[in-house]
């Protein structure tokens, strides 16, 4: 049974025109910053300071993109971000899905209290745990390495547990019963039934985690001090340090290179982006 949902169907021509103008005009406004980033990145420093300004580069300086890889260890930064995000995203999603499976499917004494703990840790701002964590990792001599950023990823994340539990609750329990009758264990249930059925949930959770890892500045800023270890966020933040005046054309080229991987993934997997947000929003 599909409930009829509301759409403003009967619009007058004037209303229609207003809506179209606002929406398409708004899109131009939203897309403009990215266009400007690209346009600036292809100009010379002289053209950037020209009055009146130019909308498009007079000569397209593709060399700027070569220059940033010479001036800064950009490929190093990108590689660091790539493996760091890859490892942490995989670890968070897998360990979170395990916990989510337990909370959604297995009965145990105290499971409600434990799930309450998951939810309440979502509400504690990260600044509260930040300092003791730093002191702990400092004691272990892990500062200056990726260990403080990577190891906690293997212990799941409250938000991802919550997200995946919502998904598991929506999967019929009939299949669980079938596994039980066949004498299969809970591991069979998880690996053979739940995981294959929850690939969309894995993709959604992975993408949301990836965005926050790729963009995160705070964690790397606190723990890493050797430039060759910087991920792209921290590398980019320090990009201008080597120059006198800000080279806006090179800085925009470097910024675009920094966000390009995320943009590419977005356009290939946008379905999962939207899904993840809707689930986290409507059930929250």
């Amino acid at each position: 049974m599909k409930r009829k949902t509301y759409r403003h169907d009967k619009l007058s021509l004037v209303e229609k025109i207003i809506i179209y103008v606002l929406l398409y005009g708004g899109v131009l406004l939203f897309a403009f910053p990215l266009f400007w980033m690209l346009s600036t990145s292809l100009k010379t420093m002289g053209e950037i300071h020209r009055v009146p300004m130019t909308w498009l580069p007079a000569f397209w300086q593709w060399n700027n993109y070569k220059q940033i890889f010479i001036d800064a260890p950009m490929s190093r930064f990108l590689w660091n971000s790539l493996w760091y995000s890859g490892v942490t995203v995989a670890a968070v999603v897998f360990t979170s899905s395990m916990a989510a499976f337990a909370f959604a499917r297995l009965r145990a004494r105290g499971s409600l209290i434990l799930f309450g703990l998951v939810l309440s840790t979502m509400m504690i701002p990260s600044q509260v745990t930040l300092i003791p964590q730093y002191l702990l990792f400092n004691k272990l001599h892990w500062t200056g390495t990726y260990l403080p950023l990577v190891i906690p990823a293997f212990t799941a994340s409250s938000f991802t547990i919550f997200l995946m539990r919502q998904f598991y609750l929506g999967i019929t329990k009939e299949l669980d019963e079938a596994v039980k009758i066949d004498g299969g264990s809970h591991f069979t249930m998880y690996f053979r039934i739940l995981i294959p059925l929850s690939m969309p949930a894995f993709a959604t959770a992975a993408i949301l985690e990836l965005i926050s890892r790729w963009n995160d500045l705070f964690g790397p800023l606190i723990y890493l001090n050797d430039m060759t270890k910087y991920p792209i966020s921290l590398g980019l933040a320090n990009f201008t340090a080597a120059y006198g005046a800000t080279p806006w054309n090179l800085l925009m080229a470097a910024s675009l290179v920094a966000i390009l991987p995320l943009l590419l993934i977005f356009f290939f997997a946008q379905k999962y982006f939207i899904q993840g947000i809707v689930v986290s929003g409507s059930k929250g």
């Binding site: 398409y24 910053p33 600036t40 703990l117 701002p125 003791p132 933040a237 966000i259």
Partner: protein, 299 residues
């Protein structure tokens, strides 16, 4: 206590195995640190020498610290502007997108796309867009209208509003949540209202807003929590300036902990932040309850 059957015992064992990674993390990286942080906030600790118990001195020091009040004020000032701005702009876009229009899916993608990129790259981008001398915004203001644009991030009066403006393209997820809520509203109410001759705006005010009020509340709380923790924008664009006018609360906490290594003082700052977020969330929940009831009573 009732004796557990073998099957139930097995199930309980599996349960603990499956939650083991989370539980270990909870003890080591969340629960333990929370307790330790509370202890630290009552001590003096500079990482090198061992921690000393200091009673409530961190807290009493904090309440006499002018920079504490400055950073708190700047953060609240930002939050008070950024939250309504985010909610309003994303609700407007969502309501417009909810009409039957050509290219709806593509438009939704394009409105959402800029918000996946955040942090350092976007901060540099806005710093450049709003550059007082050569930025595109001030250039257009001057070339087209002959107006001398403001100093944006470089002047004390406009630095926080400029950071609010940055949020324009960052609220994609708020917009998507609103759109999903709008698309699930029942049609009959609106049809009845149309027959009664209600205008579009009346329908929006009297039907749409009350019906999606739980979602407005959710987005408001999430956006408020995020805005109180703003850091990256200020770190990249202004370094807290000019004249401490974008020295946000978390920025001060960061400096206290990782520049001055005053771990006890920084922990006290973190707990004040937690209490602030907690109190504001409770107030929003309590205030909204009244709002929803009011709508029901008036019918």
């Amino acid at each position: 206590m009732r004796k557990l059957s073998l099957a139930m015992k097995r199930e309980e064992q599996s349960f603990w195995l499956f939650i083991a990674p989370w539980f270990i993390g909870f003890v080591c990286f969340t629960g333990g640190p929370i307790l330790f942080s509370l202890l630290l906030s009552f001590s003096e600790y500079n990482v090198i020498s061992s921690p000393k118990f200091a009673g409530v001195s961190n807290y009493s020091l904090l309440f006499g610290d002018r920079l504490f009040y400055k950073s708190l004020f700047v953060t609240l000032y930002y939050s008070v502007m950024a939250v309504p701005f985010t909610i309003l702009t994303s609700l407007i876009v969502a309501v417009l997108l909810n009409h039957r229009i050509k290219g709806q899916a593509v438009l939704r993608t394009l409105y959402y796309a800029p918000s996946i990129i955040s942090g350092v790259a976007v901060s540099f981008l806005w710093s450049w867009l709003l550059n007082p001398q050569f930025g595109v915004v001030n250039s257009v203001l001057y070339d087209w209208f002959g107006i001398q644009g403001p100093g944006w991030f470089t002047s004390p009066g406009t630095v926080v509003p400029s950071m609010v403006l940055m949020q324009l393209t960052a609220s994609g997820s708020t917009m998507v949540i609103f759109l999903a809520a709008l698309q699930s509203l029942p049609a009959d109410l609106f049809e009845a209202a149309s027959i009664e001759g209600a205008s579009g705006f009346t329908k929006f005010r009297k039907i749409t807003v009350p019906l999606i009020s739980p979602v407005i509340l959710f987005n408001t709380i999430i956006s408020m929590i995020g805005s109180l923790q703003i850091f990256t924008e200020a770190y990249v664009i202004t370094k807290g300036g000019p004249d401490w006018n974008s020295y946000f609360y978390v920025y001060y906490l960061f400096d206290t902990a990782f520049k001055q290594f005053r771990m006890g003082y920084a922990s006290a700052q973190a707990w004040i932040l937690f209490l602030l977020i907690f109190a504001l969330t409770l107030v929003s929940l309590w205030g909204s309850k009244k709002f929803v009831h009011y709508e029901y009573d008036s019918k």
